[in-house]
C-alpha cells in the first residue's frame, strides 16, 4: 500500500463522510459547512486523479463562489427558514425518510453492480491510450496544454459557455431584483 493509495482512501473517506454528514445533519448551517469540506475532499481527489488545474478551479469557483452564494441565500431567507430547518426530525432513519433511503440504496446497489460489471480497467480505448503513451504522467503539468486546447480545439464550446454564463448572470440579476423596480 503506497502513500498515494493511503491519501486516496483518506480523501475518499473525508469526502464521503462529510457528504453523509450533510445528508444526516438537521442543522442547515452545519450541513453547508460540511458541504464545504466535501468540496475540499473532492478537490483532493481531483489532485490524486492528476487534474490539479481542475482541483484549483473547483476550490476557486465552488468554495469561493457557490458556497458563498448559498450562505448568502440562507441568510437572506431569514430566521423563519432557519427555525423551520432546525425543527426537522432529528432521526436519520425515520419512517418519513425510509422510502428515500431505500431509493438511494437501490441506486447504489445498481450502480456498484454496473461498475463492477463494466470492468473499466480493460476498456479498448484505455488500452490504446496506454499503448500510445497518451496517459498523463505524474510529474507532468497540464495547465499549458489545457490553455492551448481551450483556445483552439474547444474554442466554440468555450464561447458558448461564456455566453451562457453571461445569460445566467443577467437572469439571476433579473430574478433577484426588487419588485417595485419593474414599473
Amino acid at each position: 500500500m503506497s502513500v498515494v493509495q493511503l491519501a486516496f482512501y483518506f480523501m475518499a473517506l473525508v469526502t464521503l463522510g462529510s457528504a453523509l454528514t450533510v445528508a444526516i445533519s438537521k442543522n442547515l448551517v452545519r450541513s453547508i459547512f460540511m458541504f464545504f469540506i466535501t468540496l475540499f475532499g473532492l478537490a483532493g481527489l481531483y489532485v490524486l486523479a492528476l487534474a490539479d488545474f481542475v482541483a484549483v478551479t473547483q476550490i476557486v469557483i465552488y468554495v469561493g463562489g457557490i458556497l458563498v452564494l448559498i450562505l448568502f441565500a440562507f441568510m437572506l431567507s431569514g430566521k423563519e427558514a432557519l427555525e423551520a430547518a432546525q425543527k426537522q426530525s432529528s432521526r436519520f432513519v425515520s419512517l418519513k425518510n425510509l422510502p428515500s433511503l431505500l431509493l438511494a440504496l437501490f441506486f447504489l446497489v445498481v450502480m456498484i453492480n454496473v461498475i463492477f460489471k463494466a470492468d473499466v480497467a480493460n476498456l479498448q480505448w484505455l488500452k490504446e491510450a496506454n499503448g500510445t503513451q497518451n496517459v498523463i504522467g505524474v510529474n507532468e503539468s497540464m495547465i499549458n496544454n489545457i490553455g492551448v486546447n481551450l483556445m483552439t480545439r474547444y474554442l466554440l464550446p468555450f464561447e458558448a459557455i461564456s455566453v451562457l454564463l453571461m445569460l445566467a448572470l443577467v437572469g439571476a440579476a433579473h430574478l433577484s431584483r426588487k419588485e417595485d423596480m419593474r414599473g
Binding site: P99, S100, L103, F106, F107, V110, N113, V114, K117
Partner: protein, 708 residues
C-alpha cells in the same frame, strides 16, 4: 178527479208556510248577519209575533172547518213515491196556534232575561231554530218529515240545554238528554219502518185519518197483522181524491204491531219524559230558565203527547192500558219526587213530568180530547211558572252577585218572603200554581177534572185492578197540591231566609221591567178559565168539542162527585202545607225518613241507571275497546309487522346487494382515482421520487434480471 184548491184555502196554506218559515228566516238572519248584535233578539221576537198573529188566522180558518191536506211529490225511490205536504186539521192548528202563543211571551221575556249574557245572539238563533222545527213538526203530513223535525227539535233542545257549555253540568245534561232522546228516536224510526212495510205509505192522513188504512182497513187476526183493501178507496187530499188500487192485501206477523207500539212508546217516553226515560228532563234544567219554560215545559215535551194524538188509531186496548198504567205511574212517581226537592227548577221539572204523565194516562184511558186540552192549558200555566221561577232565580242571583255570596240561587232555602218584593210575580205564580193544582176558576181545573172524571168512569167500566189508576191519579192530584203549596210558601211567604243567614246584606230586587211583566200577565190571563170555557166548573172546554172522543162513558154520579172530592182533598192538602210550613206546627214532611229519602233521591232511578245501565254499557264498551285494541289492532299490527319485515328484507337487499354493487364500483373508481391523485399532489419532491423510482425499476429489470 182533483178539484182546484179554493182561493181562501190557498191563502191559509201560504199563511201556514209563512208561520213556519218566519222563525227560520229569523234564524238565518241572525246566523248570517246579527251574530253579536242585540238586534237579533228583536228580529226573533218580531218573527214569532207575526207568526202568532197569522197562526190565529189559520186557527180560526181551520178549527171545526175543512181539513186542508196538500202535498207534492218529494222524491221517488223505485216505485214508491214519498210526498211532502201540509196537513191542517184540528189537532195541527191547535198546536200551530199554541206554539207561537207560548213562544211569544218567552221571546219577550228572553230579551230582558238574557240581555247580559255573552251568548245573546246565539241564544236567539237557537230559539228561532227551535220554533221553526216545532212549528214544522206539527204541520207536516208524513212520518218521514215528522221524524226529521222530531230530530230537529231534539237537536235544538240539545243546543239550548248545553247553552252554557262552559259548565260541566250543562254539558253532562245535554249529553244525557241527547242519548235518551236517541233511544226514543230509534224506537220511533223502527215504528215508522214497520208501518211503511205494511201500508206502503208515510202519509199521516192516509194512515190515521178517519178513513185511513190503520183506522179502518187493518186488523190483527190469527197472529197476523193484515192490511186488506177490497174496494176503490178515495182518500181526501184537499178537495181531491187519491185513488188506491183495490184488492191490496199485505200481511205481517202480529208481533210487529206490538214492536211498532213499543217503538212509538219509546219515542213518546223519551220526548215527553215518561217513566223509563224521564231522567233527562230534570237535568235539562241546566239550560236558561226561559228555555226550560218554552221547550222543557210547554212545547217540545208535549210533542210526545202530540205524536200519540197523531197515531192514536193504531193502538189496541192492551196497548192503551199500558199507556194508562205508565202515565199514571209516571205522574205519581214524579209528584212524590217533587215533594222534597229543594231546587226550584227541579220541582217544576218533576211537576212537568207528572203532568205529562197525566196526559199520557189520559190518552191511555181514551180521554183523547181531554189529554190534548190538558196539554194546551198545561203549556200556558207551566210556562208561566217557569218564567216566574226565572224571575225569582234572577233576583236571587243579583243579590248573590251584589253581596258576593256563595249560594245556590235556585235553592229554596235561600228564598222566602218574596211576596212583598215581587208582587206581580207572586200573583202570577199563585194563578199558575192554582191552575196546576186544578182548583176551580183556573184553566187547569177544566182539563184536569175532565181527565180524572173520565179515568173514574173508564175504571168503573173495566173494574178490578184498573181502579188503581184513577185512585193513584187522585192521590197525585193531592200531592200536586202539597208540593205547589210548599213551593209557593217557601218562596213567597215567611221571612227572607237570606237576610237571616247573612244579616248585613243589601237586597234590591223587584219584578223588573215591562219585558218581564208583560209575558207574565199574558200567560196569567191564559191560565184562567174564560179563555177555554165560560162555565168555570165544567170539566171540558170548547176545545174538547173539536177533537174526537174515543172512550165510552156513562154519565153519572161520578161526574159530580169526583171534582168535589178532589178539590176538597186539594184544599185540605193546602191547609196542611200551610200549617206545616208557616205555622211550623207539624214537621212530619221534613223528617229524613225512608220515604223522604226515596223521594229526595228521585226514587234512585238515576242512581240505578248509573249503576246498572251506564256501568254495563261502560264495561261493554271497555271490553269492546279491549277487543279492538288487542285483537283487531293486534291483527293490524301483525300485518304491519309482517309487511315491515318484508320491507326490511327488501331494504336490506336493496342496501347491501344492489347498492353494495354500485358502491363497490364507485369505491373502486374512487380508490384508483385516489391512487392516481396522490401523484398529483403538487409536491416537487414526490414527483422526483416517483420518477427516480420508475428509473430504478427500469434499471433493475434491465440489468439485474434481463441480462442475467
Amino acid at each position: 178527479m182533483k178539484e182546484a184548491i179554493l182561493p181562501q184555502e190557498l191563502q191559509t196554506i201560504y199563511l201556514t208556510i209563512l208561520i213556519v218559515l218566519l222563525p227560520f228566516a229569523a234564524f238565518i238572519l241572525n246566523f248570517l248577519f246579527l251574530n253579536k248584535s242585540k238586534a237579533s233578539g228583536w228580529v226573533s221576537t218580531i218573527a214569532i209575533l207575526i207568526s202568532s198573529i197569522f197562526s190565529i188566522f189559520v186557527f180560526t180558518a181551520i178549527w171545526n172547518g175543512p181539513v186542508i191536506h196538500v202535498q207534492t211529490i218529494w222524491f221517488t225511490i223505485g216505485d214508491s213515491q214519498v210526498h211532502a205536504g201540509l196537513l191542517l186539521n184540528n189537532l195541527s192548528v191547535l198546536m200551530l196556534a199554541l206554539v207561537p202563543l207560548v213562544a211569544l211571551p218567552v221571546h219577550i221575556y228572553s230579551t230582558a232575561y238574557m240581555k247580559d249574557d255573552a251568548g245573546y245572539g246565539r241564544y236567539f238563533r237557537y230559539l228561532s231554530f227551535f220554533c221553526f222545527s216545532m212549528l214544522a213538526l206539527v204541520v207536516v203530513d208524513n212520518l218521514v218529515l215528522f221524524y226529521a223535525f222530531w230530530e230537529l227539535v231534539g237537536f235544538a233542545s240539545y243546543l239550548l240545554i248545553g247553552f252554557w257549555f262552559d259548565r260541566p253540568a250543562a254539558v253532562q245534561a245535554n249529553k244525557k238528554a241527547f242519548i235518551m232522546n236517541r233511544i226514543g228516536d230509534i224506537g220511533l224510526l223502527t215504528a215508522i219502518i214497520i208501518i211503511y212495510t205494511l201500508f206502503g205509505t208515510f202519509d199521516l192522513e192516509k194512515l190515521f185519518g178517519a178513513e185511513g188504512f190503520v183506522t179502518r182497513y187493518s186488523y190483527i187476526e190469527n197472529g197476523t197483522w193484515s192490511f186488506y183493501l177490497n174496494h176503490v178507496l178515495h182518500v181526501p187530499v184537499s178537495r181531491g181524491w187519491t185513488v188506491m188500487a183495490p184488492h191490496t192485501v199485505t200481511q205481517i206477523p202480529a208481533i210487529w204491531q206490538y214492536v211498532a207500539f213499543g217503538g212509538i212508546f219509546l219515542g213518546v217516553a223519551a220526548k215527553s219524559a215518561q217513566f223509563p226515560l224521564h231522567t233527562w228532563l230534570p237535568d235539562a234544567m241546566e239550560g236558561p230558565t226561559s228555555v226550560s219554560a218554552l221547550i222543557h215545559a210547554a212545547t217540545m215535551v208535549a210533542a210526545g203527547v202530540f205524536l200519540l194524538g197523531r197515531v192514536y188509531p193504531m193502538f189496541n186496548t192492551t196497548e192503551l192500558n199500558i199507556l194508562a198504567a205508565v202515565g199514571c205511574f209516571t205522574a205519581f212517581m214524579a209528584a212524590t219526587i217533587a215533594l222534597t226537592q229543594t231546587d226550584l227548577k227541579r220541582i217544576l221539572a218533576y211537576s212537568t213530568i207528572s203532568q205529562l204523565g197525566y196526559m199520557v194516562m189520559a190518552m191511555g184511558i181514551g180521554a183523547y180530547a181531554s189529554s190534548l186540552f190538558h196539554l194546551v192549558t198545561h203549556a200556558f200555566f207551566k210556562c208561566l211558572l217557569f218564567l216566574c221561577a226565572g224571575i225569582v232565580i234572577h233576583q236571587i242571583k243579583h243579590v248573590k252577585e251584589d253581596n258576593h255570596l256563595d249560594i245556590d240561587p235556585q235553592d229554596l232555602a235561600n228564598m222566602g218572603g218574596l211576596r212583598k218584593k215581587l208582587p206581580v210575580t207572586f200573583v202570577a205564580t199563585l194563578i199558575a200554581g192554582l191552575a196546576l193544582i186544578g182548583l176551580p176558576l183556573t184553566s187547569g181545573y177544566l182539563s184536569k177534572e175532565g181527565i180524572l172524571v173520565q179515568a173514574f168512569e173508564w175504571a168503573e167500566l173495566k173494574g178490578g185492578a184498573f181502579m188503581l189508576i184513577p185512585v193513584f191519579a187522585s192521590i197525585t192530584s193531592w200531592l200536586t197540591a202539597f208540593y205547589v203549596a210548599r213551593m209557593i210558601l217557601k218562596v213567597f211567604y215567611g221571612d227572607m231566609n237570606l237576610s237571616k243567614l247573612y244579616p248585613n246584606i243589601t237586597i234590591h230586587i223587584g219584578d223588573g221591567g215591562w219585558r218581564y211583566q208583560l209575558p207574565l200577565i199574558m200567560l196569567a190571563l191564559c191560565s184562567l178559565f174564560p179563555l177555554f170555557s165560560l162555565n168555570p166548573l165544567a170539566h171540558s172546554g170548547w176545545l174538547t168539542g173539536g177533537l174526537p172522543q174515543y172512550g165510552q162513558y156513562t154519565a153519572g154520579l161520578v161526574e159530580l162527585m169526583v171534582p168535589v172530592i178532589i178539590n176538597v182533598g186539594s184544599i185540605a192538602m193546602l191547609y196542611y202545607a200551610y200549617m206545616a210550613y208557616i205555622k211550623q206546627r207539624d214537621k212530619v214532611a221534613a223528617q229524613p225518613s225512608l220515604l223522604h229519602r226515596i223521594s229526595f233521591n228521585e226514587w234512585y232511578i238515576d242512581a240505578f241507571y248509573q249503576r246498572v245501565i251506564v256501568r254495563a254499557v261502560m264495561t261493554f264498551s271497555k271490553a269492546l275497546y279491549w277487543f279492538d285494541l288487542k285483537v283487531i289492532d293486534g291483527l293490524v299490527n301483525l300485518f304491519e309487522r309482517i309487511a315491515r319485515c318484508i320491507a326490511g328484507a327488501a331494504a336490506w337487499f336493496d342496501k347491501y346487494i344492489v347498492d353494495g354493487l354500485l358502491h363497490l364500483a364507485a369505491a373502486l373508481v374512487a380508490y384508483i382515482g385516489g391512487i392516481a391523485r396522490r401523484f398529483q399532489n403538487g409536491k416537487v419532491q414526490y414527483y422526483l421520487f416517483s420518477m427516480l423510482l420508475a428509473v430504478i425499476v427500469v434499471f433493475i429489470l434491465k440489468i439485474l434480471i434481463w441480462n442475467s
